[in-house]
Amino acid sequence: MVSFEAPAENPSDQSPVDGVADSGQKLSQVGSGNGNMDTFEGYTQGPYGIDDHPLARDNANWQVTGNFATIFSPAPCNVGQQTHFVPLGGAEFDETCRV
């Protein structure tokens, strides 16, 4: 997952966020794929705001959650959740917090 935040002064721009909790759960396997993990948890890392999960199964449908409450108090954008198909080779899930 890649986590971003829209700056207050430039809401159309994006700045990476460090330390956002991300988690994922495989919903269904479409065909044979790579990897051996059906769930993952972690934190995005600065300065890029990226958290990679190299062992997560691909060629599958995933539900991925980004929880900004780990770094914001109070969290202005709380939890973002996406469900996508992840093709062979992987995919990127972007979560942007807009206040």
Partner: protein, 318 residues
Amino acid sequence: MPRLVASMLAILGELAAFLAGGCSWGHVRDRERILFSTIGTRLFQDYVFSIRPNGSGLKAVLKPEPNRSYMFASANSMSGPMLVTVHELAPGNDKVEDHLYFWSPDVDNWQRVLPGSAPQGPGILSPDGNSAVYCARSVGSPPETSLRVVDLRTGESRELVAADSFKGLYLPSWGVLGKIAFIRTFRSGGLRTELLEMPSHGGEQTVLVPPEDGAMSAAYSPDGREIVVWMKEGLEIVALDSGDRRVVLKRASIGSDYSFRSWGMGGLAWSEEGQIALSLLKKKTGESELWIVNADGSNPKRIYATTAGQILVSQFIQ
């Protein structure tokens, strides 16, 4: 291929570059290239490229491998050593870490800059190439990032700006007059950013752009007397002696479909020839675009675009 034929092909290639570059043979513009990376949309799909400022001659400098890719590179010349942020699989194969390497392209020698256990992230070379400033992220909750300077001859690292749990430190730029500028972020009714500057050996920090102007990325001019900043109004140049500011590229002039996506490092570059390079994200198409504009604001143009990743400008090199 016979050497003579190879030489003739090389001459033809240079002739094509000469014609594409506006016929300025022998001029520095022909030798200048923009060094940039593309942050891929999948794991280990991050490249380092170079391209001429006219958009010709795209060249992959570092291509990803099965278990490593290249997030950012800093260099003072194409032939000289590069400071490279390598995104690579950690022991155990279950996570990915960033490590700083010093790469010598001529002999393809890779050397770790810091021990693997040391907090490290992307960095940029000093103008003399003897040191680098980098983001050092420690694991914690909340995570903290400090700015550190490493002497590349001895491997000794020192803290430049201490970490603060409530403030982020990103996007250092090192000017030829011995100053380092950086972005500090904090939260107060949303994400706020400010641009500060300090001597590279440490000392007092000066605010160059206050939080209300929303600085996102900065790069020094080649003479170190000005700094170009992407901020609320768009691309602006700040004179460091007087504080005078002038808008180079108004955000409104490029349309609302564009946004600036910062990656915590790089993002802008300023050439000896007075050109500024930046990347913009076209929201409608998802294309990441590399733009060039003259420092006087004239001739803004897109020179390259891709959907395979997000362009992250590093610097102009020769």
